[in-house]
Assembly symmetry: C2
Homo-oligomer: 200 residues x 2
DNA sequence: GCACATTATTGGACGCGGTCTAATAACTAT
DNA sequence: ATAGTTATTAGACCGCGTCCAATAATGTGC
């Protein structure tokens, strides 16, 4: 017996996952740049307008796994006890989020750069996510430190996420023999956290 | 007497500066989002197509000062002697570039965020510049270190530029009494360089 | 069964950024 | 006067993102 209350209204015909799979097929066949939203929607069996009921923009289809993984960052930050040094808390939380990402879900857009046909959309949509998580980290830091001069929480957030982004990119392009994502992220993020921790 | 050889061909009717000024007027009058490329071109006295002879995209008009300033980064990096520790070289170069930016040229888009009407274009166009300079730094680091494992140069580049970007944003929003840009940039960038330097 | 409310889907249209083609214009050199 | 060079322009097109209104597919209550 399903304990979810039965939903009224018209049932959904698709899902983010279905649209993502349709998109991935088309991107392999004809690149991201040459694939239109209409193409993706038709392949998934819905109308073009309906695509925008599931995704805010065409490029959002590239981030379904990432968006699920990154939801954990604020949870991991809050899980850090107040006794934990704040920079360690930030670094550890980011590494744990990276560790929680399924090893087999390497983002297609990062490994098949040639098949994208452009970097602008990927990078712009990635940046929207970066800015959102930077705000999460900045608020966490501001709440854990007495001094909120505006600059240091922002600099920490941008620098540490920048390092993590670099690690993710290198990890994705490392090929089949790549080590776990968390290894790369730790190696990139630890020096940044150490540098800011020493400065406090 | 002008020692520049006289240019053949049709003379230019406008310039990046003229278009930038026209754009700034319109952005103040009706926000960036509500201003079209056609608006800017007409205000500057040229056609819509001609705008694209001067700028690659609408948002490029926001970065004229920055684009002139950032040209110095590769020069400042090369000016660093081989005796200088590599992380110091990177940090110092970035701070010198920041110091060379005219104090009175605070980017309008950063101080008048409300009058932009959107952040997406500003951030996306900023990221294109970020990625370009990250590559400059990554190549510099790769050429100055024996080990090029791919990850560290990239992590350093992303982290240090991320910190600098955070500093620039905080500096811009600091108001009339703001300190020089180089102060903010140094404060943000130094811990990152120290962290990576200690790790070598 | 039917009416109603709710949620999703759809068609069509529009504005805008970006791009393309081809014609025209404004210069210099000969 | 003509040819070559560079810039400008008009018009068109594509695709993304958005909007409006109509339609559809459900569940609920009577």
């Amino acid at each position: 017996m399903n304990d979810q209350p039965q939903q009224v209204g018209r049932p959904r015909r698709s899902s983010k996952r279905i649209l993502e799979e349709a998109a991935a097929e088309l991107f392999l066949e004809q690149t991201y740049a040459r694939t239109t939203v209409d193409d993706i929607a038709q392949r998934a069996g819905v109308s073009r307008n309906t695509f925008f009921n599931y995704f805010g923009s065409k490029s959002d289809v590239l981030w379904v796994d990432f968006d699920e993984t990154i939801e954990r960052l604020s949870v991991e930050l809050e899980a850090s006890g107040p006794a934990n040094p704040v920079m360690d808390a930030v670094g550890d939380a980011i590494v744990r989020v990276a560790a929680s990402h399924p090893d087999d879900r390497v983002p297609w857009a990062l490994t098949q750069v040639d098949l994208m046909g452009t970097r602008d959309d990927l990078e712009a949509s990635g940046l929207r996510r970066f800015m959102k998580q930077a705000e999460v980290i900045r608020l966490f830091l501001s709440s854990r430190t007495a001094v909120d001069d505006g600059l240091q929480p922002q600099a920490v957030a941008f620098a540490v996420l920048g390092a993590a982004a670099a690690a993710a990119g290198v990890w994705a392009s490392a090929g089949i023999g790549r080590r776990p994502l968390a290894d790369y992220v730790a190696e990139a993020v630890d020096p940044v956290c150490a540098g800011f921790a020493a400065r406090r």
